[in-house]
Symmetry: D2
Subunit: 309 residues, 4 copies
């Protein structure tokens, strides 16, 4: 197996990939961005890509949401949750917070630590880096100018960087959700606590258009665990929705909801059913259990037995 | 073929039955009430029964609505519309409206002519009869006491009764809808303009319980053409709904709506799909056409092909 | 005070009227039908009329539902529940059930006792009477021909008629709901457990038209306790709905729901708010309490304080 | 008047600010990030801040969405649309695309030009800059290392930079929506084509929770023009919604919808009503016009006149 992931090595994304059974022993190729990682999967250079999709503080990861919503179809095979915590590492010679004039990190990480930075290193200027690991590695590069970096403890440990403070994130308990993406193929077995991801272009811009979509879930008792609107690129006011629901395609209520969605939104895209991470427990109402669907289908099939051929 | 109908001969119900192809040549047995007529069908003494179900002025015919909703299952095979018009017939010797002191007719007919009666024969007392035909026939019976009767023109003509006034109904253009009821069996072919009748017990008495039922129709674009609440007999506040919708069980949107209804209301009863009388034209939205359902089902079936066995 | 009621004396309707505080001491004028009773109120001859509106076995009383829905406005002042039980009374000389060939009663009563009659007096023919009391009184009339009558125990006792069997109703525990109707005027104080009755003409015949009406209740957490469809008289498929909801006009959620209904259905008719009989306990959700409405209104009023004049 | 905006000078945000009447003559203070700009408004150092809120390609601007949703209340006073187009500017000495090894720009700009870059400068590495203007200005800085920058034509012209290619965006016609944000105060007059922005925390995570919110809009015929989910920061699965609807607080249907929303979602935040940019034409249904609300309110007020005091 060849895996790719949003690199470089030492990012939270690699930590997520290492949670996948067997990934530690497999080939792991870092990609410089989400699009490149997914392209490797699409063209067969990698079997699967680990990419971030949502952060509990920063929200949806637009690059991933958009890249899996369009282009050659892909499929989500698994989700992984990684607790996010940051440390402040410094260049050799920097001994105290007061000395820090510039701090490099990825924009998303900066957003999560800004409060701490404003209080503790108020005069430090933010230098955007292409990843938290890149910012940290820059501290070892004499050509780079920044005094400090905000990164994962992993890369600090691996590179033996000096940690001056940590954790430095504003919201303790932040979590990022990563998804393992492959080519469309066999769907993981249902575990009872699964998620299904779909992309729903909103056809019309009028009261009730979004409700018509949600109604297809509600009449089957299907719970939404995430909904994000994203622009289609056709101009302001044109959106698609990226939606996670609780349940698995193997369950009748999900299959039935997808059937209903296809009618009102024929350009929808199924992005996979996969085990839910993080202890989600899905309870299914009697009226929407597989048994209830089986009984209902059997009843209607019985009635239809009286139709002329 | 043996038909029964709500008799006696000469009622609007017989007129409805005579519209059924072949009924004029078949055996036609009058029944004294709706229950008796339906019982003859249930026990096999008659092949089908013609009974009134709804009047455009008086509303639903409770006896019929209740009798087909419970007991041994029955099936509606056809519906027939009959324009309702009444005449005032009198006993020999009665020469003017002013002479009339008592007028016999069925309570439903009386309700439809009361305005005329209050204006034209204000002193006449209403004598309830078991049918309009029975009231009219009583005028030939020396033991009966009423001076006049309100009945169909048919029985007046057949029995050669004197017609003193007519039409005497308050709302011109009244129509009664009759249904031909048989044992469950082959369902009439869809014509494109059909109705389907279902009985829906309302499980719970709370905001939204009725909406949950209606939603099952709305998400499939199924139009209701009639809805009646009826008591279940278990006390005030316990209802079932008798519902006609536009469409045929052979159509995917109806079959799908019935499947959804069975889940939320497993005790529902299917009473048949049959051609709509009276020029109803059903238009079906692209999103709820058989093609849209077929495409949606095929799409989901394709996805499910990737499920493990 | 002058009361009228659906007579004659001795019917269940008089029993209902006698439950109204003060009615036993007031003038009580029987009317021969619901329309006449309501007309007496409309023209000022009576202060209020007691009429049946719904029976737990037979359903809505069409004459009442229609008469209060149209014409000069009326207002429901109170509701009264009366348990319905019937006895079989006989003409002098009739000693056993086997002797009975004809039995007179009102059609509604007959409907509620038909099962008993078919078992116990299978050969007896039904003779429709204009009321159960009239059928019973006929037993004292030598010109009437029926052998037996089905009536309330009240009239049997008052008239000293021989009771051969009872109770004879098929469903023990039947209840009829009566309403006391007056001219529009002061509305009874809210008790916390009240009902509000409205008449809602359904403007359009399409999927969702009824749902749009129900939604106005659902978004304010208003529970329906009764819904009846009735023909408008303009032809099959044209209905109005007669609806009881739990709550009082004095409560914000009812006033707000009525405001919403007026927008989508401007021809609606308010028929009153009055104490609920029979131990109905209405619970109101925090989100739809008067407090929640008051807070919401105050919040929006505060925002609107920033609008230009 | 003192305005601040997401700087530095020469960004699209300054172009947006210059569209505000009078802003060209007013003091304009660039801020280094959205939070700083809004903080200047909150503490009174600036009267209003211009910040980007949504891009037709990149979607919502998280920093802005989050910053106006929490903290001291703010109010949107106006929206401005700016067409987004990019040019490729180069350092002195760079003569052809083939020479470019590094290209600096803001991540959002890079996302919008990546397709062009992969085709035309496939070997060039992306260097994140804190803004498009900062990337361009770096070309004049001998200490910076990048060969090229992607920026607005405005800054290229102002700084006299060499433009090697343009437009270089992948989607022609991209537009960014900016909002002018001030302290809560007088609300701009309604123009007939307005927007209202609200923040709606989603209380519960269950089927129908989002629908309950949307229903409050739908029952008043209020159209959504934008909906974004954002994490509350309390963990995955906890969202608030940032919503724009068509209409103005001065209109009854918006005031009524806000009242309903406050009941189901008491922690909602009103962020202002302001003229819609870009030729939005709002049509209002008869049933949801101010007249319909006025008539409905008058009708209910009339009924309530009969309530006891």
């Amino acid at each position: 197996m060849i895996y790719t992931y949003l690199g470089p090595a030492g990012t939270f994304t690699e930590a997520a990939l290492l949670q996948v059974p067997g990934a530690a022993q497999a080939t792991r190729v870092p990609s410089t961005n989400v699009n490149t990682a997914l392209e490797m999967v699409r063209c067969g250079e990698a079997d699967a890509a680990m990419v971030p999709i949502e952060n509990s503080v920063e929200g949806g990861v637009s690059a991933t949401l958009d890249a899996i919503a369009t282009g050659e179809p892909l499929q989500i095979l698994a989700e992984v949750l990684v607790p996010i915590t940051f440390v402040l590492t410094v260049r050799e010679g920097v001994e105290s917070l007061a000395q820090i004039r510039t701090v490099a990190t990825h924009g998303h990480a900066w957003a999560q630590c800004r409060g701490w930075a404003e209080k503790n290193i108020p005069k430090a200027e933010f230098v955007p880096a292409s990843s938290t690991a890149a910012g940290a590695l820059g501290l070892l590069d004499p050509l780079a100018h920044h005094d400090a970096a905000i990164s994962s403890p992993l890369v600090a440990a691996e590179e033996n960087l000096r940690v001056l403070a940590g954790p430095v994130e504003d919201n303790a308990g932040a979590v990022t959700r990563f998804v393992l993406v492959g080519k469309p193929g066999p769907i993981p077995e249902p575990t009872g606590n699964d998620k299904t991801t779909v992309i729903l272009p909103l056809a019309e811009d009028r009261p009730g258009a979004l409700m018509e979509i949600l109604e297809q879930f509600v009449v089957r008792g299907v719970n939404l665990s995430r909904i994000e609107s994203r622009p289609t690129g056709e101009g302001l006011g044109h959106y698609f929705f990226s939606v996670d629901v609780e349940g698995h395609l193997a369950q009748a209520r999900i299959a039935d909801a997808l059937t209903g969605l296809h009618r009102v939104c024929p350009d929808l895209r199924f992005l996979g059913s996969y085990p839910a991470a993080g202890g989600l427990v899905t309870t299914v109402d009697d009226h929407t259990s597989d048994k209830a669907f089986a009984r209902a289908n059997a009843w209607v099939a019985g009635l239809r037995g009286n139709l002329g051929s």
